[in-house]
Symmetry: C2
Subunit: 343 residues, 2 copies
DNA sequence: TGTTTTCAGACAATCGGTTGCGCAACTGCG
DNA sequence: CGCAGTTGCGCAACCGATTGTCTGAAAACA
């Protein structure tokens, strides 16, 4: 009843425009627009009438038209590395879900873009396109091409993990601080000779963790022996060999840069029938499910990864809304003290 | 030299419009548009001149304007489950990357949307919004709310994995066929008593695999003993107990519904000091890196997960472009015959 | 050379919102 | 009762592409 001029087929795929709504309510399109946005002068009564109609008929303003008029897309892009190194992917994916959560809560949408880290084309297209209001870079290198490009294209963006340029918006966990605290804790528990097993020193996160380890020692005015320190581990074999050598050097504890290395270390110790923590103490600078498979629970640092994505979007939205967030956002961590370092 | 009327600040953040290009070349905007799209009447010479200018100045037509005019966004959405069950996430993420790959290759962008599988609001917004041309549903249930909603909203979409409605666009691996073939292969290798370890029978994929197992037996006009069959395994404990019981029943081989179950089975056999394949044969209906950790290599079915995402987008784009793809796309599999089933 | 056909390309309307401006009605105050 | 100030809302000009229609010139034909 009362359908004024619909085609009558009731095919349910009709999508309303702001003009339809206006006509139906006997007001002008601009009034409807103002009712929705809440901006401009509009009577409270009319506003409610419009809002009610809109909800009842589940009207949503056309995104393209809105974005053309406002020069704002309500889209963000998250730039992901290629699926090559599968070990790291869970990190990026978790991060992405965090980002998506906050984006959705703010009526933004999230575009995923995969790149090999060198090819600028996809980025150029998105920038020229104006398809997004801002971007999240999930992996950056020293003197990153993407960072440089976005900087002088004037596109708002935020990096996940520390960026070499301190002026750039960035969100990171306090890797250095966390590793320092963990190292100090181990020392305070009587471990004198702590070995460090790390690698991939071209990545910020690894640089920071290693720095934290050294700071932990320095805080006690001590120094680790050079022979206890590995910063170039890449393959499983290298890790096993390092474990062997460290056992011969008689270290008290093996501090592993990440869950992957820690996993190998524990397996190697198992192979060698070295018990944990009886024969050797082990700790990891990053927790993941990989460390759940052992009978002994592993002492580790816990970082909430989703939070990194959440915070990245929050900071980016602040930026877009003209607030001026501090460039560096540091996220909290948690030290999970378990059996593997009982002394 | 030769800059006609730029502001001269050279701030590099100026973004060209089609009109800028037109003015610069002394043609009309419509000519530029036609040069880009290749549609409509346009001289080859002019066309090249425009194209060249566009490339040189890396001009990209504004996405919002284009999408307003064409009623086409060149966006697709992929609907992902919440991060709850972490075991399954790699599947969805891999799938997503496949989708993104093909989308990008076709100048489409991919929006990620996370939902709990019941809340229609995000979907309604995207549909009303007209923010995407089509959607990919990564997880569907019996009588899925999303499927039903999209069907009668008339939005093009494709499901990853089989859908209860055969008319819906869907992409899946031939789970039933693969499991049938694997079962037959095992029987042909002399395994008479094959146990099946599965669970989660509310999911299409599990239903199909179990069906395939039965078909494999039927093809030989044989029947597995009821006591060899588990279709309700959920926890690690249940799996260990099943393994125990099956050992007592003296089965020849344990066929595991997925990598997760297989992992547990192998670990339990290890615990019980049962050697593979000496003491027991093991096969998995799904390969993953989980199965790489053992000294013995595991016979399994290999499905290329990225391919599912790729194919989903291809099919969806075909649909959008007016081709009429068959509703069901079956993807190929590979049987990886390894030591764990040597007889 | 005159007429018809072909073709390149300009003009203008359109997509569906947003927003500055102006007009009318209403308020309050002297 | 008159005038300034406020308020509610409509008009119309955008935003930057696409596309149907129209024109003028060149090509083809007689």
């Amino acid at each position: 009843m009362g359908m004024t001029e619909s085609t009558g087929t009731g095919d349910s795929k009709e999508i309303l425009t702001i003009h339809d709504v206006a006509r139906e309510l006997g007001v002008s399109a601009s009034t409807v627009s103002r009712a929705i946005s809440g901006k401009g002068r509009i009577g409270e009564e009319t506003r409610q009438r419009v809002l009610q109609y809109i909800n009842a008929n589940s009207f949503h303003p056309n995104a393209a038209a809105r974005s053309l008029a406002q020069s704002r897309t309500y889209n963000l892009a998250i730039i992901m590395p290629e699926v090559r190194d599968l070990v790291d992917m869970p990190f990026f994916h978790t991060c992405m879900h965090g980002a998506e959560e906050v984006a959705q809560a703010n009526d933004y949408d999230l575009l995923v873009v995969t790149t090999d880290g060198t090819n600028l084309h996809p980025l150029e297209r998105m920038v020229g396109n104006r398809k997004v209001d801002g971007m999240i870079l999930t992996r950056t290198y020293e003197n990153d091409v993407f960072v440089e490009y976005l900087k002088d294209a004037g596109v708002p963006f935020v990096t996940v993990g520390r960026c070499y340029d301190p002026k750039v918006l960035q969100v990171d966990h306090d890797n250095a601080g966390a590793c320092k605290e963990l190292t100090m804790l181990l020392i305070s528990r009587g471990m004198e000779k702590i070995a460090y097993l790390g690698g991939g020193m071209d990545q910020m996160v690894n640089i920071d963790r290693y720095a934290g380890f050294r700071q932990g020692y320095e805080a006690y005015r001590k120094q680790p022996d050079k022979r206890w320190i590995y910063t170039d581990l890449a393959t499983k074999n290298q890790i096993s060999r390092a474990v062997d050598e460290l056992l011969h050097l008689g270290v008290d504890c093996m501090l592993c840069q990440d869950d992957f290395i820690c996993n190998e270390v524990v397996q190697e110790l198992n192979n060698l029938k070295v018990s944990i923590p009886g024969g050797m103490r082990v700790a990891s600078c990053h927790y993941s499910r990989l460390l759940d498979n052992y009978p002994v629970t592993i002492t580790s640092l816990k970082f909430d990864i989703m939070d990194i994505g959440r915070k990245a979007v929050q900071v980016l939205l602040d930026q877009l809304n003209g607030k001026h967030p501090r460039p560096l956002t540091m996220l909290d961590y948690e030290i999970s003290l378990k059996e593997s370092t009982k002394n």
